[in-house]
Each structure stands twice: as structure tokens, then as C-alpha cells.
Symmetry: C2
Subunit: 229 residues, 2 copies
DNA sequence: TCAATAGTGTCTCTAAGACACTATGAA
DNA sequence: TTCATAGTGTCTTAGAGACACTATTGA
């Protein structure tokens, strides 16, 4: 059976988490004209590996190179595609706003909430796939520096905290947040201070190719909850 | 391209973590007679979903029904199979010793260490796949009740602690371990006390279909380490 | 008798959570 | 002047780690 790759590519725009969608051609057999996650088939000729295929497809569909890509799950069953058995390897990808403009006419950044409240229906089971990827992101945000890839490479700590809060969906304690992030050792003080309303804000920098760092405790939210997975 | 499913099925026997292996037929084109992870092709006719296919293949290859199954990753590239591009959905499965006897002649339980020190080479990239699944297990053992599925449904706490220690590869503090596990609320006191050498041991029970419970802190080991994933 | 065993008491340490506080400059 | 902002001080609390201790019984 033929396998595809689908990617949930996310960015932060303003105070909103957005997902990159791709519009299916008007003459598609299934879901013509519908919005969908950018995806495609693995090519035995052109692709060396799944990882490389994921990058190729994103480059092709949207002309974008994410700052972070991770496999979420592989979903395969008889129901998800009207044409019968189909299988897709789902990925979560993150990109910072300043690198996220796509020149492709058939792509669009859409607020994640617009898909969640079903004001924008997606093709196939892509709404479910989006949900899975978002759950992965918010789970990891509770114990890692993963959301850092949504931030610009030079940033103020309160900015990063806002990104975490958008991803987690709840406010965080400033004191604990600062402590955590700084102790992770991924942020370097640039020495620059910016005067806004309050005390001068410290500008930090991270390396775009830095590894995700894990904490030994979860942040906030309900703990010890039962999960299915 | 055709996709397969491979499963790392684990059990605890004595003080050893063991993996179920399956011997490839002597007339296979690739790796004849070699030991491999139990796996097989997804069947568009017989299978409804990947999950169901995973169970079918395990049932067929070994006649076993694991107490727990989880997807680990999907690996696909040009190198892993001498016949060219191939892709496999890797699973981690756990089974308690008392339910782990396989009647199939071409399967064998093998100490994980025997594969790790390369005294038993595996077919294809299966040694790497095993490593990936083991890493998932030991990571989750640090913050969840996952290893419980390796224990009998009625158990003493020191027994469970030994299982955790085998999985993690290092000793744990008795006090902290008891506190953690009991506070998770998955173990029910049967009321039975067994007299051994020391004080009477409390026998606890868990429901084999219970959900994995997560803790809000990691147990032991190096924290805040960089990871690639 | 002695060593292995199951279990408890209790102290320390770390990091999260909570809240108050200062300093600053834009509206 | 007022208020939004960046940042610090410090107290409390929960749970992990460390260690000592009891009680019991098989070898």
C-alpha cells in the first residue's frame, strides 16, 4: 500500500498559533478545492529517507524550511481515504515567523482555532492529524524548550513566555518560567538592553540548530492524569 | 512502496529483560535463517487498521497477545533492505511473564543484552530498531507506570522495583519508589500478606487494562540532558 | 546467630508556585 | 499621574534523595 507524508507546520503570528494549509486543486479526485495539510507521496526515485522526503515535500508544496521537524505517528486504516486503505506518516514542524512567508499561491497560514472550532473544515482526517500534532507540542512544552523554535533567534523572555502560554493555553508564573528557561542554558545574553515601558528588557539569543532540552519536572497544569496512548 | 510492521515484544524473566525473536526461514531471499523481530506486511484485505494489523501479525508469528502496545517510530530509507526502499512501522509491546510462553517453534525469547553486545546479530536494521524501542521504554519508565505491564497482575512492590531497575539499568531508592507508585493509584491492596524473610510483604493487584499513569517529575538519572530527536 | 528482607521515620534539598516589590517610561 | 512593563526577593510547599531504623525469618 502507498504511503504519504503529512506535516503540521506551525508558527506564532501575533497572539495566535497558526498552521500552514495547502489548497487541493479543483480537479482532484478526492476533496477538490479543500484545504489540507501539506503532504505528498514518498518517491522511491528521488528520496533517500523519510526525513529527507518530508523536507522535499515541504519545500515543494510551500517553499519553506522548518527550524524543527519531528515524527508524531503513523496513521493507517481503511476509513481515512474514500479510495480505500491509506497510510500517512504524520510530522510536527515548527518555524519562526520571520522565516515563514510562503510565496506559493495555494498555501495559507490559518489560525489553529479556526480549524478547531470547525469554521474551516479540512480534507480527509486532517483535522484529527492536526489535533494529534498540537497535543504533542503542548505535552512537550510542559517539560522542554521545544516552543523555542517558534520564537525569533533574538528574543525577550516575556516574548517566549507568551509563546509558551499560547501553546499551553494557560498563563504561567513569570518567576518560575524565567528560572526554568535560563537554567536550561540554551539562551545567551546578547548584552543588548531595550528600553520599553518598564526596566530595560534583556535580549537573548539562541542557536537555530540547538538541541531541545528536557526538564526533570512538568510545568503547570493537571498532573498524574490517565492517558490512553 | 510496501510497508511492514515490526514489533519489539519484551518480557522480564528472572533478572533479565528479554525480547521475542523470530527465525527467518532457511529459504528466505534476504537474511535466510537469521533471527529477526517478529513482523510482517500490512494486508489491505485482512486488516482494518495499523493497530489491528500489529496484533494480527504478533498472533500469527508467535501466538501472543501483549498487555501493552505502542507505536515508536516509522523508519524508511533506501539502505535498510538490500532489495531497496523499505519502510517499517516500529512498535513496542510488553507482556507479563506468565502470559508469554509461545508455542511457535520458530520463536525464541532472548536476553536483550545478548543482542546489545552483538553475540546474537539480527537481520536487517533490527538491532537498531530494538535499541530505539528500548530507549522509549527506559525514557518512559522514568516518569510513568509503563513497566507495570511487565509485572504479574498480583505483585509485591519490591518485585516491581526490580523490574524498574532492570529497565532503567540502575538501582532506585526504595522510599521514593514506594511513594511514587502507590500515589499513582493503579495498585490496589489485595489484603494478602506473604511471609518471607522480613516483614510480611503486601500483595497488590492492578487491572491489566488500566491506563498508563504519568508523574510530574522524572525519577533518577541525568536530567536536563540534550537530546537529538 | 546472622544476613537478607519488607517496610517506616525523618531530615535535607531542589524547584515550582505564590505574592509582593522596585524601577521605568509611555499615554 | 497612572498604568503597563521587566525584572528581583523571598516564603511556602511537594516530592525526590539519603540514611537510619525496626521487625521478622530462613539458612
Amino acid at each position: 500500500m502507498i504511503s504519504t507524508i503529512d506535516t503540521v507546520l506551525l508558527r506564532i503570528a501575533g497572539h495566535e498559533l497558526q498552521v500552514l494549509l495547502w489548497q487541493r486543486p479543483a480537479d482532484s479526485r478526492a476533496w477538490p478545492g479543500a484545504w489540507a495539510l501539506p503532504g505528498g507521496w514518498v518517491s522511491e526515485d528521488r528520496d533517500q529517507s523519510l526525513e529527507q522526503a518530508t523536507c522535499r515535500i515541504l519545500e515543494q508544496k510551500a517553499g519553506l524550511k522548518p527550524d524543527y521537524i519531528e515524527q508524531v505517528a503513523t496513521i493507517g486504516n481503511r476509513q481515512r481515504d474514500p479510495n480505500g486503505w491509506s497510510m500517512t506518516v504524520l510530522h510536527l514542524a515548527l518555524i519562526r515567523f520571520s522565516a515563514s512567508e510562503s510565496t506559493h499561491q495555494d498555501t495559507r497560514w490559518v489560525a489553529v482555532d479556526a480549524v478547531r472550532d470547525q469554521s474551516l473544515p479540512l480534507a480527509f482526517d486532517h483535522a484529527k492529524l492536526l489535533e494529534k500534532a498540537l497535543e504533542r507540542l503542548s505535552t512537550k512544552a510542559r517539560y522542554s524548550t521545544l516552543p523555542l523554535y517558534l520564537a525569533e533567534t533574538e528574543l525577550k523572555l516575556p516574548e517566549l513566555q507568551r509563546i509558551y502560554e499560547i501553546v499551553l493555553g494557560n498563563p504561567l508564573h513569570k518567576r518560575a518560567f524565567r528560572e526554568r528557561i535560563l537554567s536550561a542554558g540554551v539562551l545567551e545574553d546578547t548584552g543588548v538592553r531595550i528600553q520599553g515601558r518598564g526596566s530595560p528588557a534583556t535580549i537573548y539569543r539562541y542557536q537555530p540548530d540547538c538541541a531541545v532540552r528536557l526538564f526533570d519536572r512538568m510545568m503547570q497544569g493537571a498532573m498524574g492524569e490517565a492517558i490512553d496512548e
